[in-house]
């Protein structure tokens, strides 16, 4: 009965279920934890977008932080300059801005491959945040823009902490975007993206316009990046170039590999890892009272170690490992199945 419904309805129902669970969870969590829950949310959509581009379509981007940067500054500028816009419109425009940037990047990228593409996207991640120095009046240089978003309805102010409200907004936006990604991943487009990744010649003979497909992957993926950046700005009330370093771009890619390239679920595990590694290493550093120059680099180092271990153990990432486990649990005696068929 469920598979008679259009995919979008199934995915919306699943998203609604997730949203209800998350809202309940935020009531049980303290404000700090809610901030982290929201942070997982925007990293999730950034990594999920990257999953589409790199996992599904095989285009490696070392510069997805650049699209987050664009989204964050779109929200910051809109909040400051056009306060009449509601926050959902700001977030929508951040998504559009990321998508437009991705369209341009994708058009260039469709002509590049492998190391050249990686290099070009890396240059984007290095270069783009530097524009804040070029326009200090508008973008406030390296200090970045600070602002307050008054999105919480008057009736809710004081009844729930603002981080809880923010977590709801973030996850609502993230789940809506995930519905689109899930439609895409499960349908014809997802198949086309993967076909182009595997063999461009065969894909074009099957009637697929390879260049257009690659640009579309970039567009959707960077729109997700724009949304993620916009949500980050909304959550933190700042947009500063220091938040969008090359290290961010690299950790997004690392999170994707860690979680598993092949599916959107991998993005979830990757985003959780991204946020909680930071938390855990901070705790460890505090307990061991490490010097700050060591503790600052601890998350990245630990992240690297775990990444190597996981990828060695499960080449398909955490999601790949989980799937293997699931298959084993469901089919304890595979040989009998083999005989039956």
């Amino acid at each position: 009965m469920l598979n008679k419904l259009p995919p979008v309805v199934v995915h919306l129902l699943a998203a609604l279920g997730c949203l209800v669970l998350l809202v309940l969870l935020t009531f049980a969590a303290d404000p700090f934890t809610n901030l982290r829950i929201a942070t997982v949310g925007y990293y999730l959509i950034a990594v999920a977008g990257l999953a589409l581009l790199t996992g599904f379509n095989g285009q490696v981007s070392l510069g997805h932080g650049a699209f987050m940067f664009i989204g964050a500054y779109t929200v910051a500028l809109l909040v400051k300059r056009v306060p009449a816009f509601p926050i959902w419109a700001d977030l929508l425009l951040a998504t559009v801005a990321g998508g437009v940037a991705g369209l341009l990047a994708g058009a260039a990228a469709a002509r590049l491959r492998g190391p050249y593409l990686a290099g070009a996207t890396l240059a984007l991640a290095v270069g783009l945040p530097a524009v804040t120095q070029r326009f200090p009046e508008l973008l406030a240089g390296s200090n970045g823009l600070s602002f307050t978003v008054n999105s919480q309805p008057a009736g809710l102010v004081g009844t729930i902490p603002s981080t809880q409200w923010q977590a709801w907004i973030v996850w609502l936006a993230v789940l809506l975007a995930l519905v689109v990604l899930a439609n895409l991943a499960r349908g014809k487009l997802g198949r086309t993206l993967r076909a182009v990744r595997d063999d461009e010649v065969a894909a074009s003979l099957a009637g697929v316009h390879v260049g257009r497909t690659k640009i579309l992957a970039f567009l959707v993926s960077s729109a997700c990046g724009g949304l993620a950046g916009g949500l980050q700005a909304f959550l933190l009330g700042t947009a500063a170039p220091g938040s969008f370093t090359v290290a961010l771009s690299l950790s997004l890619l690392a999170a994707l590999v860690l979680g598993g390239l092949g599916s959107l679920w991998g993005a979830l595990w990757g985003a959780i890892a991204l946020v909680y590694f930071q938390v855990w290493t901070d705790d460890i550093a505090e307990v061991l009272s490490l010097r700050s120059d060591i503790s600052d680099n601890l998350p990245l180092a630990l992240y690297g170690v775990v990444l190597i271990v996981v990828v060695l153990a499960f080449p398909a990432g955490i999601q790949g490992g989980l799937r293997k486990l699931w298959v084993r649990v469901r089919r304890p005696v595979p040989s009998q199945r083999g005989e039956a068929s």
Binding site: R194, R197, L205
Partner: protein
């Protein structure tokens, strides 16, 4: 509109292709009529695959022209071919390793899809119905080729002969009017080759086939007409029997005497 009304399905006229100093095709002309099987044979490096690449729009010829059903094919792109009704299998198979066998074949059926990218992005009921139809059609073709049991597997782990059938299924599912087969018999057992011969003959009810092949018995058995390429030039053409006894052909094949060429 019926294909029988077109005397010429595909016409290749005086095509020349050069790679630097190497002349890969030299003034090659070829006509494919509906529901016929034309063999293109020749030693390694004769230009057979290059000819396919010209037809498919991967390579622009230096001179010469192409036409499809009487209309000129100029500056066409490979991805437009499926829409015209031309399908091709690749010499190196070119299966999508990360897709299941069924997904591989469904990708080939894209021409028959009626909903576009946006519907897919929005996950509408219409796009889902479309997908179900593509799946059913693809399963039907896989069943016809006796490989339905591997539909959910990835092609990498399958035996070579099975993979060849999957590649053929991916080309056939779009119901092409012209099928370009690049060495479909390489790596097949004798039994599989017999089956392939029957299958190609059966295809001619609806489809014209251009068969590039090194296995002479297969070529002689299924082709209505054979074109022989050597160093990019057409050195002979005609019925299988005419070509078999052509001395130029024997010369091209390392001086093999005509009577030593495998017979049908």
């Amino acid at each position: 509109m019926s294909i029988t009304s077109h005397e010429k399905l595909l016409h290749v006229g005086g095509v020349t292709v050069r790679f630097g100093g190497l002349v890969a095709l030299s003034e090659v002309s070829l006509t494919i009529r509906p529901r016929t099987v034309v063999g293109v044979i020749g030693p390694n490096g004769a230009g057979k695959t290059t000819l396919f690449n010209v037809v498919c729009g991967f390579i622009r010829p230096e001179t010469g022209d192409l036409s499809w059903k009487g209309r000129p094919l100029r500056k066409h792109r490979p991805d437009q071919l499926a829409g015209l009704g031309i399908a091709r299998t690749l010499q190196g198979l070119g299966l999508f390793g990360g897709l299941t066998v069924l997904e591989n074949v469904m990708t080939g059926a894209g021409r028959l899809a009626r909903t576009g990218s946006l519907a897919s992005l929005l996950g509408t009921g219409k796009s889902a119905r479309d997908e179900r139809e593509l799946r059913d059609r693809s399963m039907a073709v896989l069943t016809e080729l006796d490989v339905a049991h591997v539909a959910q597997l990835h092609p990498g782990a399958l035996p070579y002969g099975v993979r060849k059938r999957v590649a053929l299924a991916r080309a056939l599912v779009s119901e092409p009017e012209l099928l370009l087969l690049d060495e479909p018999a390489s790596g097949l057992s004798t039994g599989e080759m017999d089956e392939l011969a029957d299958r190609i003959r059966a295809l001619t009810e609806k489809t014209a086939v251009v068969l590039v092949e090194h296995h002479m018995d297969l070529v002689m058995r299924v082709c209505d007409e054979v074109v022989v390429l050597d160093f990019g030039e057409v050195i002979a053409s005609g019925s299988p029997d005419e070509v078999r006894v052509d001395p130029a052909v024997a010369d091209a094949y390392l001086g093999t005497a005509p009577e030593e060429l495998p017979s049908a």
